[in-house]
Symmetry: C2
Subunit: 402 residues, 2 copies
């Protein structure tokens, strides 16, 4: 059950992007597990991918293909990650792309493959080739929600959002979908996300805007510290809205993109495997960004902090212990303050006399908890979102595959 | 339930060390929670302590006192960590030491305090002062086993071992006890350990031998990546055996010390919170020690690997994913081999054709599992011991305190 599930609002089509889904039977039965995305010619496409050295076959191909040509199709499957599959995995992924290229008359490198699911099993090609003809026929601009559903694995809800903004006298639409619930950690999360806009944005600008948005969203979440072999986020700009984003409009568009990506990233945390809490780690007034991030992530990943959150137990000693072991070069604990929500626990490194267990308990019983760490030692800050560690996390990850 | 519990063998007294325990009622009811150790005059004492910046009041005092004088008493309590307790925590720990110093005529700095248990609650002094007189009367060389029991917190079994070796024509005894089950991670683990020998060893040599033994034992285990605020390991050499360890004998004594510390460290993993598996991570043929350690610890800490171990699921993709995200500067995955026990999964970075799911399953069903990662790229190696992540880990850590 997702924490404070936000129902998907209306998903707006993005001119120049058509989608379709199919139940190809790659692994799952009786549900869509294949997503086809058609991108209009002339669009810009940017991507960021997992930093995992054992990255999956489709990630290797995506990186390579994106350098060569602008993509016209995305092929996404759930159920099988095509990772840890060696040379044969590459051959299979290429066969999938080649089959679609042949049917549509584009080049093989214009088809980007994406896979998510179990690692270490070879990807069957035939289910794709069988499903493509029908999927091509049902391509439609209005299929974003079924697309969000088709790419789910351990997700309990589809993650999707649209937003619109006026740039000059033109309305610009942004629509994005994402999947991911476990193996979530920056650089990147076990995560696939596809975002499209009808604004016109040059390839270089698109890539740099994507990088900034990702740092503030998908690279600021963690469930379990495990990173995936398959993460990918693709941003498409079709240019069909009749407005080109230039220097004057970058800030306003970037803000909209950041917010959309944050919404999707936070949806992943709300739906994190076994999550019962949505937790914001806010480290403030740090000497530098690295220190702020190191502390935020160390606390966010701590199994002991996460089990205390699950138990709604204001066992703040575990937070201090996690701060204390953060891999930072310098930390003056005598300046540090710590808050649970609005309740202060530590001031200038010392327990606050006014703190009561009851006040801490009351903060911990909330479903949305903010842990604020103020280092009082600079201007840098970092915000990280995470979940708790529950019995259901163990159940889901002990039973996944079986 | 500990994994392959090894019953404590006979614990041999170490001449020059007397121990006693008491039910002081510091937090627990109806069990011993106080340990007193008396060290004969003229002994050498070495110590290593947690690297956590939020280290506990007793750790601050131990570090300070050890620099000034050779200790004559150790006072250890379970149930309350006296960590996160600020200035008042220091005052209370000093009061405990001062009370014992007054009763015994030693100086305050000759009493080393140790605490383990809940973080963030003030340590009551009175239970100590009330218990000291009786405890002093019952000091005895044969109390090692009850000492091991008195320092337990979430431990399900006492951890203790003795060994003897001949050095020249003299028999030398080593006896050690440890506690720890969660918040286990190097530098150091949530762990207290006390080891004594009747050999004579100079202070400097003792400290350097302790450092080497710890790196190969307590600093090579992890349960949950969380480090404690209170870890301490004390090594006492009383010199009562009539043999002084000089250069010629260092190697043989070091080996015995390493083995004793490894036994105690492995006992902590066997008794790790919720553990159902005892797992050895062996990284071989690495370019350097840092690479070997980084990979071993990244896999050992991975919640997804640990839940797969709990499920006896040969989901080796998760091991690859953890290797792939290890924080190493350089890794040539095309040289890498991976084994589960005697079953090879990956060779030269590719799935091994002979591998069967059945073979992997059979390895994973063992209670003792070795994951061997051969980088085929150098001479360095690292061995790390860890446990799985089970429902009981969550239960224990969600319910501890309540």
């Amino acid at each position: 059950m997702a924490v404070n599930y936000i129902p998907v609002s209306t998903l707006r089509p993005v001119a120049g992007v058509r989608l379709s889904t199919a139940a190809a039977g790659i692994r799952y039965k009786d549900r869509d597990d294949l997503l086809l995305v058609e991108i209009a010619e002339g669009s810009s496409v940017a991507g960021v991918f997992t930093q995992n050295r054992f990255c999956a076959a489709p990630v290797l191909l995506c990186r390579d293909f994106l350098k060569k040509q602008s993509p016209r199709f995305l092929v996404v499957n759930s159920g099988n990650a095509n990772a840890g599959t060696g040379e044969k995995g590459l051959t299979n992924a290429k066969a999938v792309c080649g089959s679609l290229a042949e049917l549509t008359g584009v080049s093989l490198e214009q088809v980007l493959p994406f896979s998510t699911g179990v690692i270490g099993e070879q990807l069957p090609v035939e289910p794709f080739t069988k499903a493509f003809t029908g999927a091509l026929r049902s391509l439609d601009e209005d299929n974003w929600l079924s697309a969000a559903k088709a790419i789910m694995t351990t997700d309990t809800m589809p993650k999707a959002i649209s937003s619109q903004l006026m740039i000059g006298d033109k309305q610009v639409t942004l629509t994005g979908i994402a999947k991911g619930a476990g193996m979530i950690e920056p650089n990147m999360a076990t995560m696939l996300a596809y975002v499209a806009t009808d604004a016109e944005i040059s390839q270089n600008l698109l890539q740099s805007m994507l990088k900034q948005a990702v740092d503030l969203s998908f690279n600021s979440i963690t469930v379990d510290g495990d990173t995936s072999t398959n993460d990918a986020l693709i941003l498409i700009a079709t240019g069909k809205a009749g407005i080109s984003i230039d220097e004057d409009q970058v800030a306003v568009f970037q803000q909209a993109l950041n917010e959309l990506c944050q919404h999707l990233a936070q949806s992943i945390i709300r739906d994190a495997e076994g999550a019962t809490k949505f937790v914001t780690l806010s480290v403030q007034s740090a000497p530098d960004l690295e220190t702020a991030q190191a502390i935020a992530f160390t606390v966010a990943r701590s199994p002991l902090v996460k089990t205390a959150l699950f138990a709604s137990d204001p066992n703040w000693g575990r937070i201090l212990a996690a701060i204390g072991r953060s891999p930072v070069k310098y930390l003056d604990i005598s300046k540090l303050s710590l808050w649970l929500g609005d309740t202060q626990l530590i001031g200038a490194g010392q327990p606050v006399a006014t703190y009561t267990e009851q006040a801490g308990q009351s903060e911990m019983e909330n479903e949305e908890i903010t842990i604020r760490i103020d280092l009082n030692d600079g201007d840098a800050k970092s915000t990280v979102w995470t979940s708790d560690l529950s019995h259901d996390y163990v159940t889901i990850n002990a039973e996944y595959r079986s």
